[in-house]
Symmetry: C2
Subunit: 529 residues, 2 copies
């Protein structure tokens, strides 16, 4: 897939969390004693008891009861029992002929508002053996979350949105099965990280109350659901674990990210920032966690900046501006002629403009201009200038201001300072592609020693992989969601005050950003000491 690394395929740069395999679905090979007058146990009870002897109790539903008598005889009493974890116990998912225990596949899924990514995971080893990504088919109902919620309220909208998400995922599943030489029924476990609205739409739950005060989701902790009930093209009885959210704007994708970071296991004070369609911030350690979220992201998604676009071929994703000459160097996805700028390119560009002295600390172009041309019309793929405008910078400043205000609010709420943060996690696909130096320069990320800063990659996908691999991780995810203290920013006057005052690059108080201060000084720019 072209530009596939931009679609969030990279699972994780650092595997932060090690797990002892105890997957969501386990396989147990059984050599059943054949029935005899001296051993006339019923077929289902025989399977259940022999399974229990090896691996503990397992439930058998009506459909499997109907299947077992034929299957055990067809397979000569040598079968592999596939058991899925459903929270309150193991349940028989399938009964396969012979010993198939070497093949045990699960699907880790990240359903983003824009992009859906599916990883095929070998649950025996934990290794990702395949990955597919595609745009969320819901995009035709609206680019952003609010327009999706609005669409869901129209007639059959909810149903159509659910089907669009499921269809998107099913296409990825077919692709993965095809390229891996796997029957789709061989995928016997799924885990899904998604934001609260995406989780609702995927499950066919009405998201209407998410976007109006007091911002109430239908459910925060959906738990484990049978794949057949969701219409997924995997084994119909496969358990599908849905990551829990904490609130309307702090969803399962973030909890999956926290799980993937491992910050909940450590004593060090950690900050996790996930900027995507929304911005979410989690602060804490193994003892406590506080979090907040807001619609921070749109400025960095395609379609908001005048020349903005998704991270697709032709998007400028990397920009350098020589502060002496103003000369621009850039890279495009797929090396194609440039046709627009994606989020990471925009951040690079604005940071470059700031460090070149072309944009001041309040985010305004100097010298009366209101745009900067990165690629002139003659060299662009569209025949038009590709530029960063004052409006684009203003949008970005709002995003940055929201992130700053939220972080300050969290730090104040627990009485900590920026400097006490021992670990910083850049979560999500956008965090993976965003240049840390540019993000720090603009104050989007805090100015911490760089060895404390970790890019997590697609942390929602990695969290989903961990949930497939370990029931302990599922318990941890549920605990994280239950224990996070969530600040509803929509309701906070304090947040609005901080937001309004967060309008300088990188920060009102430059002393919080020592490396930026140094660079400004190097270049003789205002603020440099």
């Amino acid at each position: 897939m072209k530009g596939s690394d931009r679609l969030g395929l990279i699972l994780q740069e650092t595997r932060a969390v090690d797990v002892e395999p105890d997957p969501l679905t386990k396989k147990v090979y059984l050599e059943l004693p054949e029935p005899a007058l001296t051993d006339n146990r019923a077929d289902v009870d025989r399977v259940r008891q022999e399974f229990a002897r090896v691996s503990g109790p397992v439930g058998v539903d009506l459909e499997m009861m109907r299947k077992i008598p034929g299957a055990v005889r067809k397979y000569g009493w040598r079968v592999t029992a596939v058991a899925g974890w459903f929270g309150c116990g193991w349940k028989l998912v399938d009964l396969q002929g012979g010993n198939t225990s070497a093949r045990n596949f699960g699907l880790a899924v990240d359903i983003g508002t824009t992009t859906v990514v599916a990883y095929l995971v070998d649950m025996n080893s934990g290794v990702v053996t395949g990955v597919q990504a595609g745009y969320n088919g819901q995009i035709r109902f609206g680019e952003d979350i609010l327009s999706r919620i609005f669409s869901a309220g129209n007639g059959e909208g909810l149903h159509l949105l659910k089907d669009a998400a499921v269809d998107t995922l099913n296409e990825l599943i077919l692709g993965l099965a095809g390229s891996s030489g796997l029957a789709t029924e061989e995928i016997t476990a799924v885990s899904v990280g998604a934001n609260t609205t995406m989780t609702h739409l995927f499950l066919g739950l009405d998201p209407a109350n998410i976007c109006t005060a007091p911002y109430i989701p239908a459910v925060n902790s959906p738990g484990i659901i049978e794949a057949g009930q969701l219409g997924l093209s995997v084994n119909r009885k496969a358990p599908v674990y849905i990551f829990p959210g904490v609130g309307s704007y702090l969803g399962g994708d973030v909890i999956a990210g926290v799980l993937a970071s491992g910050m909940h296991r450590k004593d060090e004070l950690a900050l996790l920032v996930d900027i995507g369609t929304n911005g979410e911030i989690v602060l804490g350690n193994s003892q406590w966690m506080v979090a907040c979220a807001g619609a921070a992201g749109p400025a960095l998604e395609g379609g908001v900046a005048a020349c903005g676009m998704r991270a697709e071929p032709g998007a400028i994703y990397r920009v350098e501006i020589d502060h002496r000459t103003g000369r621009v160097d850039y890279g495009t996805i797929g090396g194609c002629p440039p046709v627009g700028i994606c989020g990471s390119g925009l951040v690079d560009g604005i940071a470059g403009l700031f460090l070149a002295g072309l944009v001041d600390r309040s985010g305004r172009f100097r010298e009366g201009t209101d745009r900067f041309v990165l690629v002139p019309a003659g060299r662009s793929g569209t025949g038009k200038d590709i530029a960063i405008s004052q409006a684009d910078i203003n949008n970005f400043m709002r995003t940055k201001g929201a992130v700053n205000a939220a972080l300050e609010l969290l730090l104040e709420s627990v009485g900590c300072g920026l400097g006490e943060i021992e670990r910083f996690y850049a979560a999500g696909a956008f965090g993976h592609h965003l240049d840390i130096e540019s993000a720090v320069t603009l104050g989007l990320y805090p100015d911490l020693p760089r060895e404390r800063m970790v890019k997590l990659g697609n942390s929602s996908g990695e969290g989903a992989r961990l949930a497939l691999m370990s029931r302990k991780c599922i318990r941890e995810a549920e605990d994280i969601a239950r224990n996070v203290t969530y600040f509803e920013l929509n309701a906070s006057q304090e947040f609005m005050n901080k937001f309004v005052s967060s309008k300088f690059i990188p920060h009102t108080n430059l002393d919080y950003f020592p490396t930026v201060k140094m660079r400004l000084a190097d270049r003789g720019l205002p603020g440099g000491s």
Copy 2:
């Protein structure tokens, strides 16, 4: 319903087991705190947490998750949560507006090969508030169990048999709902006692291996299944508890009977005999239980004796023969002109013939005749003689022989004698109608002091009622089934030997039947001392 008391409607003569109500489905009225910025729990989590506060944890499936947000708002946050027990935990079955906890209805079902009986149970009080019975719609596929198993193997047979049983039950449910002014969805729990083959057909499980060595059911312990999966016309999410069986010929109906008798709770040695389409015998107490079963019943069901019929209007169900005059007195069901003899009438008749000296201890007519006319053609409803023939007596002797042989085998296996039996339970509808004196006279029942002998009525139905009322009873039923030692008579040479030698009325050794011996002596008949 005409002749309805003959259809097994009488639940139990003696309520042997008292239960502390802890029903299969419970109702909890919730006054939910309304959402606010200071309490922004998700709708489902709010319901779940408030329920847990009052009554412990409850699971919520996807369908209920979809329903809750609309329901709580529609009902103004005042709802009654209906939770069903599914073995591994409680699950939300329904959410009703306002406080409906005063109405909590379950259905106790006895699915017999011939007759299906459904009792509507008020689960708040345990009281049976309605009852309906009907012939099992499977009868058109064959009268007896073997022909049903055969039919199930033909093409769509299994499916048709399942539907026939479910349709029969659904008609009864509609009848009960109609006569009780109840919506069928208000029935939120079901429990079912049935023999192993009936259980299989009701669940759509292939019974093919039940009737050939080594006699293996698909399942003995089906557990609790959602009503919707079975196609029952009650609340689709209602838990349906299926009584466990022990083997191909010792089914859930007998375990339900043992539960209803309470013999598993007491130290006294008890014998439970259930003669229906099959004959089942359970011997034991709170420490141990042994059991066996065999196709004992057909002689006593309609259709085997030449003048035999089901217990329907016009059936002779009671017979007295004056041992001095040979004059016959009889009663018919519904007081109609006699058209045939049902099982209890046959036993009464043969006992009368024996005590009148017209049939000898080996079961043969004296004086060269081979039939005895109970009702001459001129006075019968058919215009033909209604008679007991030598062939009818021979059939009965086989049934009796099987019961005797089985009982002796069980007693020997545990080293007990007949006299040590402290309690005798006549289980099942047939046991309810059978005259104890006649049964003892013929040796079908042991000759115990009458105060030790208890008729249980429809013990399968009563067991089902207990399961609705108490989860402890469900655990007890599962324990009984697990702990019973089952002797497979089909495989026992010893049984065949005893069977062949059990050919005297009431027994080879008349000393085991002191009251019969006395009666014979009174009448100056051979064997009387």
